[in-house]
Assembly symmetry: D3
Homo-oligomer: 254 residues x 6
């Protein structure tokens, strides 16, 4: 099985973290392919940056067609997820979605814990889009600046553990979701210092992508995730335009 894991941020250092966590979580026989956004921002934190991230995510998924069994959009706010799910034939999963739904199987309420309060509004909108506000115990963030997005999980490890404890004290959380691709792999290191299950979103997403690939659902031809009708896509990236314009079949053998 081949899983495509796209990082809609431009930070190669974050892609490296994602790759390591994904490979650690993958089943035997699962191949992990990663890719980093060719344009955009180093890490998405705001609605503006997510607007760019959603667009580039679609381009990246289009460029890798048809070479994967399932794909992961590896940014916690799931930029472009709904669009990708309607456009492409393979299952596509978001990091937030995978982390939250997996958390739902371990408790009634989950707290989202992350490293920057700039992320709060975008994450809150993401939780609402998924209809999971009733399962959310709260979003808890550090408030100080950090050195380097590729290293933030090491720099803030102790503070994030302390924040998990604060989140449990201040809410009715049963599970912690460590949010954001830059924290990929951290859950494993801190699990024994937090008294409830801690979800690593990349690990959860890899397992969920494998689940969907194994269940092998058909592409919807009805409902709101049926593929949209072909339409001219002037000025769009060629790979993506082929999909929007319904001419991907003409140029791709298979």
């Amino acid at each position: 099985m081949r899983l495509l894991v796209i990082n809609p941020n431009t930070s190669e250092s974050v892609t490296a973290l994602i790759r390591r966590a994904a490979e650690a979580a993958a089943a035997p026989g699962t191949e992990i392919v990663t890719d980093t956004a060719p344009w955009g921002v180093p890490y998405i934190a705001t609605r503006t940056e997510a607007a760019l991230g959603g667009h580039v995510a679609l381009e990246m998924l289009a460029r890798h067609q048809p070479g994967y069994d399932a794909a992961i959009i590896a940014a916690f706010g799931d930029p472009g997820l709904g669009a990708a799910r309607e456009l492409f034939p393979q299952p596509v999963i978001g990091l937030a979605e995978a982390g939250m739904l997996t958390a739902c199987m371990l408790g009634q309420k989950f707290a989202i814990v992350t490293f920057s309060n700039a992320l709060t509004a975008w994450y809150r909108e993401c939780v609402a889009w998924h209809g999971l506000e009733g399962r959310l115990a709260g979003i808890f963030t550090l408030t100080e600046s950090f050195r380097d997005i590729g290293d933030v999980q090491v720099e803030k490890e102790e503070k994030l553990v302390a924040l998990c404890h604060s989140a449990l004290a201040a809410s009715d959380a049963d599970v912690i979701v460590l949010a954001g691709a830059p924290l990929a792999g951290l859950a494993h290191r801190v699990a024994d210092r937090v008294p409830v299950p801690v979800i690593d979103c990349v690990a959860a997403a890899v397992c969920q992508a494998e689940t969907l690939a194994r269940l092998n659902p058909r592409k919807a031809t009805a409902g709101s995730f049926a593929r949209p009708g072909a339409k001219a896509a002037t000025g769009a990236d060629e790979a993506l335009a082929r999909w929007i314009e319904g001419r991907e079949g003409a140029v791709l053998p298979g």
Copy 2:
């Protein structure tokens, strides 16, 4: 007062409809500036198309800086609205937002009536994003194809009036919101054939943009619509990149 009305679709014919309706609704002394998306699709109907539309809307708003008092994103699903509201100093309003909030002042529940069922899922997500699901009586759409997006309001006028009647019979709607920029101006023509108020979203948006421009609210420096910190925006359109990177001041006098 100068209002910028951007059409995030590539259809000049729709821009012409928008311009006409906007000018008819504007107060004396309000200048309407319109612009059509330089890239994207002829009309946005799906999540995929909205992802592109959100991006191009930001580019268009950035390019017109700082020459307007308030802006309108003239597509009913409000692509890019949250992002624009955090990034730019002027008030920015969406067509759906203006239409729905204005409808709220004329009744308890509004029905959204439009010409294509391809729009339903996107509109539903837009209503949810605005937190107005409790005010929505339903989304009602025609189900057949149409000839030309710039002419659909004429071709389907009778059928849309009939659909307004069906919507009232099938729901507890007090007001009809005629949705979608391609229907700009239609409400006026059909008002006397529908027994409840009918909202023209372009007209509502012009009035609301004037309202915000007159109230002249300060740009937030706190809360989730404070301007995001500067960040590298590799590969982005130059006008937009200047804003994301916080260097719009260097190149723009004033």
Copy 3:
């Protein structure tokens, strides 16, 4: 255009504040007519007082018929609003409604800030009636007594600014709605001391009333705001009784 602004409280000093703020906000050519409740309480704060206020608001609107293009019920809890909207042909807007819906165009969540905690329950019920609980960040009130309802905005100005800051720190508010007719005009004076947009409800209501008057929606003859059938109204105020009994046409030329 002629806007009727009724104060359902008996305080002339509050009417004076409302008038000043309304005139400052009105467009050129808009005439502001104000009126003060002939009976009731000096300022409405509780459910009991609002029950009286709702009744007197209807009487006042009936007495001024048909001399206005749109009306404003100038008390934040919008007493009598639903009733007025079903009974009279012109658009009628509430202070709370106008303030909250305008705030919705400037952020995702608004905080209501006011001068007395006696108002909290009534305001909470008003927010719920409008279906805007999902947009409310919280209701924040001073807790101490005040000297004079016509002067409370001057006496408490510093404390209200401090309360805006507390509200922002304690909630996820993006906008502040300064609530209550006695605070009319205050937003303008404090705007530069609060880091998010501050809504003056009277100013917002004037703009929204102008918007509705310009859009000129038809009076509903279907839905829940169609005019109720005529019914005997024994013992009611004559002007109001004429409207409830459907005989306003007999006595009013035009």
Copy 4:
């Protein structure tokens, strides 16, 4: 025990129905005192009429002070209920409240069935005010006119039974609430023709009023139903003004 049952409508014929149903439901030793609104409309159906009804209900409760152990506002939309609960020391219950809460003990969802569709909007707002929307299966009404409000339950008996069956077929109702004081006593006659429990609101209200009188809760001095501070009530009915102005003690021995 003495229960005051006020009819906020002016129809003596409806008061007679209420009295008969209340006496049939009362426990031995419970005295039923009824009163009919001295001003207002024959039966409340709309928001406008409810605004008057809420006011007159307060006047009636004030005039009967302090001669009762608990009171019932005998109109289904519960006009004036929140106000009465904050102002007076005895428990006050609404017909809708009593009927709906009693229904909740007999099933998960209740349907409201009544004789006129003019009542729908007012009833819907009443259900929402009570926070019981999640328990409501629907509001089902006859749509044709009726002869006489005091006789509507006889005239429409068969049609209302048929409507109960339609309501069960069209919704997931477990219980039927026969709504509106004009239907007082009907539930008993039709119970064996409807396959789920049918609630008579007057009977339910009498039992609930007895329950509260027996539990004898203290009047709140905290929370949102503490008695409001005294305030001038210019132009109000003398009995009510005494209560709003906090001088009921001066004139009433006891």
Copy 5:
């Protein structure tokens, strides 16, 4: 009238408290029959214990058939309530349900106050099952251990009064529900030390059971509380099996 009050816990000391409070609340002529669970745990606090409690409650109700007019499941989380309501012909009421619905007639929001934080999750799920989350101001619990479940209300009386005050300060509660059968009778003793109404759930449940017995609703034969079709119940308690298997008529003279 004969009310069956079953304690689904195995603590005879708690049954004694329940009996005393029930008899104090009962109307003249109401006979109270109590029973203690033959198996299970001394007091139910968790989901696991409630699973056992729900089962034993059904067995107890089956064994007492047909000798009662209405029954009360006297544990605050209402174990087995939905099941009992569908299976047996008489009305069955839960302690939480009765306490909360009665509280709803005395204020807009109620706070649940109890002696152990182990109860919080179970209570929260119970409130949600009843669809009353919108009326809940919060669940407030002591956090320390106690000596003896039959004596906890005496040991903690002062601390529970203090907790009522904290609950009022920290929330918008209008009423206090003293939760848990072990607190039966306490409300009466503390009522004058708490500034809002305090509900004794056993007293409320007795009054509500009497209400339902007097209203004498028919057993549903439609809706989700119609009696389930007969089915083999291998290995179940004989009295309960007779009801599940639809052969109670064969063995019980009627």
Copy 6:
């Protein structure tokens, strides 16, 4: 990896269906252990039957301790799930939970389709317990009787496919969840006759149980799923009593 799949129904024929679907879905190296309820009903459909099923599920999980890596409660309403999750150290998953959460990754709304309308109320309460009402498009059931629970999926195959089509036409479902253990394996056979993804709950549950076992979360010692304190469990099944009483360590090596 060893997955325990318990059937809380007494039907061996259903267990056989579950086993076949589970083995077909399991990853290489996953061992499936199934067990059938020693007491209870042939298939759970109602609240009463679920009360028994929840109890027996706990007994079965206790008896198999500690021999599995994760467990599945293989009845769609998830009887006993919350209890099992707090009591036992291994992950436990419900059939409904797994099916619904997996469906969430393939669309915005899922429809539940099943063979008997007796199941509707129980399923609806299950969806609510999981906080997924906002994702539910509707519950759609056949209404006629069936021959044999172990064969219902064959007997009704065509009718269930037709019902999937009806569900899509009548709702905004993006995915179908074929609900109920008796339908295990059916999704695979009908997938190409339904135009949206169809979820087999047993297959989904096996994948999700593997996911949790691989992620290997710690047992919570805080939050609402921490193991309850030890308590006497008089009259309970010995294996379950050992767990409730905290003495499982004394008798089980390891």
